[in-house]
């Protein structure tokens, strides 16, 4: 067996919520039956974004905020890979906001995990888009990614988990990965992952999370109901977690974008680009194109 890159020891502070995500991703990938060499972890820039270095798999460390663009490129280039992008709330909702919004729209079958700690950990605790008013002088309203995700009318998979609740997290991640592997489209999971050094929200979150599945009327196929349930939960001072949206039955006419583009699933990375194999088609192209 060829020796290649091994995970390094994590660079996180002891107690960091990101450990929960790391453990859950490892378990979920195994449980979903992903062959490790077919897995690609795309890391953002931030404490969270180091995650790909701590797992035995393929990893690519994107630029700050650009992990989703790279992840989309990977999946559309080789739809046989299982692509998981993971980064911070700053990475995803500040500098990465444009790509974040377009990821729902594109609906490429990959999993995006935002490790939300309501702060910029790696740059030492500035306010992030999810920070509450008052945190480090923040005077802007915090962004709620789940509500916004629900507002985008595309059949994605949308969920929120909490690092303090590994069981639910693993369940959700397994479902998300299977959703992707069935080419049903984009899966978004926001994990509440406290930064124990700059913004320790463990206690607060533990007291406030509510599994949406336990709420009356829970119906993850209906965005508008879920939107209402989430708003009401938040108005009551609670934080909804669990699966917020999954299509009732995945619509075969609207699969993940990779399948619309590449029905035979070969794709750019695995295409035979040898001259001889393509000579006839190339000659025809050159004859007819210009």
């Amino acid at each position: 067996m060829v020796q290649s890159v091994k995970p390094v020891a994590s660079t996180w502070c002891p107690g960091c919520g990101d450990f929960g995500v790391l453990a859950a991703v490892k378990k979920a990938v195994a449980e979903a039956g992903v062959p490790v060499h077919e897995e690609v972890l795309v890391g953002g820039i931030g404490c969270s974004g180091g995650i790909h270095n701590f797992i035995e798999t393929n990893g690519i460390h994107a630029l700050h905020g650009r992990l989703l663009a790279q992840a989309v490129g990977i999946k559309l280039s080789n739809p046989g890979l299982t692509v998981i992008a993971a980064g911070g709330d700053g990475d995803g909702y500040a500098i990465g906001m444009g790509h974040f919004m377009h990821a729902f729209k594109k609906n490429v079958s990959l999993l995006y995990i935002v490790m939300n700690n309501e702060t910029y950990g790696l740059t030492k605790g500035q306010a992030s888009p999810t920070s509450r008013i008052g945190y480090e002088g923040n005077i802007e309203h915090p962004f709620d990614a789940i509500l916004t995700a629900l507002s985008i009318p595309v059949p994605n998979f949308i969920a929120r988990t909490f690092s303090g609740d590994p069981k639910t997290m693993i369940q959700v991640l397994v479902e998300a990965i299977k959703f992707n592997r069935a080419n049903h489209g984009f899966a978004f999971v926001e994990d509440l992952s406290p930064c124990v050094t700059y913004n320790d929200t463990f206690k607060d979150w533990r007291a406030r999370v509510v599994d949406v599945a336990t709420l009356p009327g829970y119906n993850p196929a209906d965005r508008q109901t879920m939107f209402r349930l989430c708003v009401e939960t938040m108005q009551a001072g609670k934080i909804p977690i669990g699966v917020m949206h999954r299509p009732a039955a995945p619509d075969p006419s609207s699969p993940g974008l990779e399948l619309k583009l590449l029905p035979d699933k070969i794709g750019p990375a695995r295409a035979d680009i040898g001259l001889e194999s393509n000579r006839v088609a190339y000659e025809k192209l050159l004859r007819t194109a210009a």
């Binding site: 890159v5 994107a62 790279q70 890979l81 790509h99 295409a271 680009i273």
Partner: protein, 598 residues
């Protein structure tokens, strides 16, 4: 239908006298400028003329001058037809076809002494010598309904002035309008006849010029952007992401048509940041990739291209230069991104900049660029310019004879299985580490834009840092033998050198001809690799010359600057010929300073 009262001022033929029947002037090279309000189809005239002259075996070169708006505002095109290959705007114009007053005003300074202006007198009046007014719009207003047919009528009038073969003149109309349905075709044929008739009725207008048939029967008519798209496909390119921007958009549009048949993917991204990062992801996963853009998008890709440099991901970025900086002049011509590209991005990483000089070269260099990127695992820039990208040119049909697809050290699962160790950033003598695509069983890799060790893990170890910098930057030395070589033209013993790249190729070749006729021998170094500065070929070239003119479309003399910094010992020989008004060189603008010894 009544015969129009054509308003004419004398149009001199070789016999000179107003109104007198003139012998047709025999030309081997002819230019017609057609101008009017953008979006009203006046540029169709240049298309029709081009089609006719192609049928007669002539070489065609058409340049456009349009505003960055969809309708209205002045727009013009200049169609050149020649018995010899051409890739430049003709310095003088035989005929101006003016559907608005601006066309006449803009074109006049380039009108040849025996040239003529044909204008639409239903829209405005011209009191210029050598002008003929026909109320084209009114003429067609009655018989065929819409003023849009004025263009075809004008084409008819021109066909008379140039003694076109009537059958082939009609054939052009049929070719062009048949797919618009029988009604459109019929109306256009009517408009053609109206125009012909009107012109025939003006004494002395027929047969002003004549261009003998040429031999360019098998040439294709294309633009640089199409050649790049085709080169990309046959060079094995399979993933393209871009964002619309003038004058680059056509590359994406062509690829949208071509690539799906080859397991390829084309995506219009949400912006250029996404586009460049999408191709980085796709290349990391193992595809041959490209994006294309122009100045503003290029600036936005700065971070991403540097990331590809450090992470050693092979990407190809086509920069279709336009007038900068900032939004600048989207539809107009310049070559002012080179300095930026040669130093692009914070920090230091290797990159290669190649520049084709002709549309044929667009096809070839794109393929070479794909090989370079993947063999050396670095970003390659394909530097184009608006004139090369968008001006239509007759070209040798593209073929596969020179196509080579070389992916460098890309290991298969079988090869990997035989290794003891696989390291994505392994130190090697030439700096290139073998590549294994993710998904290969039994092996993993880590790829990052942080400084890293051979395994791809983050490292700030100073010794490793130095080695990694030397690994990456060293590629620029080892790659040299594989870089596109310059094309040299002109007298081998000349002491006057000319250096240029991109679309200046055409004007420089033409200037060489003129200089040669004036007894001035020159040697033209058509640079095809711009960065790393090709010292190996430039040094002997500069050594052999007394004086060297660097011809480029920018204010500061960017390529001259790069050469000066790389080969300072030759600095005293370097002269600069620059143009930065948004238009491309006319050959006299190159001839004059060289002849003047400036």
């Amino acid at each position: 239908m009544t015969t129009p009262a054509a308003k004419t001022t004398p149009v001199p033929g070789e016999s000179g006298g107003p109104g007198a029947p003139a012998r047709p002037k025999e030309l081997t090279d002819l230019a017609v400028m057609i101008g009017g309000q953008g979006g009203d189809g006046t540029l169709t005239v240049s298309d029709l003329l081009g089609r006719y002259f192609r049928k007669r075996g002539l070489y065609i070169y058409t340049s456009r001058n349009v505003l960055s708006r969809i309708r209205g505002g002045h727009a013009d095109a200049t169609m050149r037809a020649s018995r010899d290959p051409v890739a430049a705007v003709k310095p003088d114009v035989e005929l101006i076809v003016a559907f608005d007053k601006e066309a006449a005003e803009i074109g006049r300074s380039e009108l040849s002494p025996d040239g003529a202006i044909l204008y639409d007198s239903s829209v405005f009046q011209l009191d210029l010598p050598n002008s003929v007014g026909f109320p084209f719009a009114t003429l067609v207003g009655g018989a065929v309904g819409q003023p849009i047919f004025k263009n075809t009528a004008a084409y008819g009038a021109i066909s008379v002035m140039m003694g076109f073969d009537p059958t082939q003149t009609r054939a052009v109309i049929e070719e062009r309008f048949t797919r618009r349905g029988p009604e459109a075709l019929e109306k256009n044929l009517k408009a053609l006849e109206i125009g012909r008739k009107a012109a025939l009725e003006v004494p002395g207008l027929a047969d002003r010029w004549h261009v003998a048939d040429g031999e360019a029967q098998h040439q294709i008519l294309t633009i640089g952007n199409q050649a790049v798209a085709l080169g990309f496909v046959v060079g094995g390119g399979r993933f393209f992401a871009g964002y619309p921007i003038t004058p680059a958009t056509e590359i994406m549009e062509y690829l949208m048509r071509y690539l799906p048949a080859f397991h390829g993917v084309v995506r219009q991204a949400e912006d250029e940041l996404a586009a460049v990062n999408m191709i980085i992801g796709a290349a990391y996963a193992g595809a041959r990739v490209m994006t294309s853009t122009s100045g503003p998008g290029l600036s936005l890709m700065t971070e991403g291209i540097g990331h590809a440099g450090t992470a050693e991901v092979p990407i190809l970025v086509a920069d279709c230069q336009r007038v900068g900086p900032s939004t600048g002049e989207p539809t107009r011509h310049e070559q002012s991104d080179l300095a930026h590209l040669a130093h692009l991005g914070h920090g230091e990483y290797p990159r290669v900049i190649v520049a084709p000089g002709t549309v044929e070269d667009c096809f070839e260099i794109t393929i070479e660029a794909l090989n370079l990127a993947e063999r050396w695992r670095l970003p390659v820039i394909l530097l184009l310019d608006q004139a090369l990208c968008q001006n239509t040119t007759t070209a040798e049909p593209f073929n596969l004879s020179k196509v080579v697809v070389d992916r460098g050290t890309r290991l298969t699962a079988e090869q990997v299985a035989k290794l003891d160790v696989y390291q994505h950033y392994q130190f090697t003598p030439n700096g290139v580490s073998p590549y294994v695509p993710p998904g290969t069983p039994g092996v993993f890799s880590q790829v990052t834009g942080n400084e890293h060790n051979e395994m791809g893990h983050v490292s700030v170890n100073p010794v490793n840092r130095v080695k990694m910098m030397e690994k990456r930057m060293g590629k620029l030395i080892h790659i040299v033998p594989e870089l596109p070589v310059p094309h040299l033209f002109g007298d081998e013993r000349a002491k006057i050198g000319i250096i240029g790249y991109g679309s200046t190729f055409g004007p420089i070749r033409e200037a060489q001809g003129a200089l040669d006729r004036a007894g001035v021998k020159t040697r033209f170094y058509n640079a095809r690799t711009l960065f790393p500065v090709p010292k190996e070929s430039l040094d002997p070239f500069l050594s052999a010359m007394d004086v060297v003119y660097v011809v480029e479309h920018n204010y500061t003399g960017q390529f001259a600057d790069l050469i000066r910094s790389a080969l300072p010992q030759h600095h005293a020989k370097l002269r600069s010929i620059r143009k930065y008004d948004g238009d491309s060189f006319r050959s006299p603008e190159i001839v004059a300073p060289i002849q003047g010894g400036q």
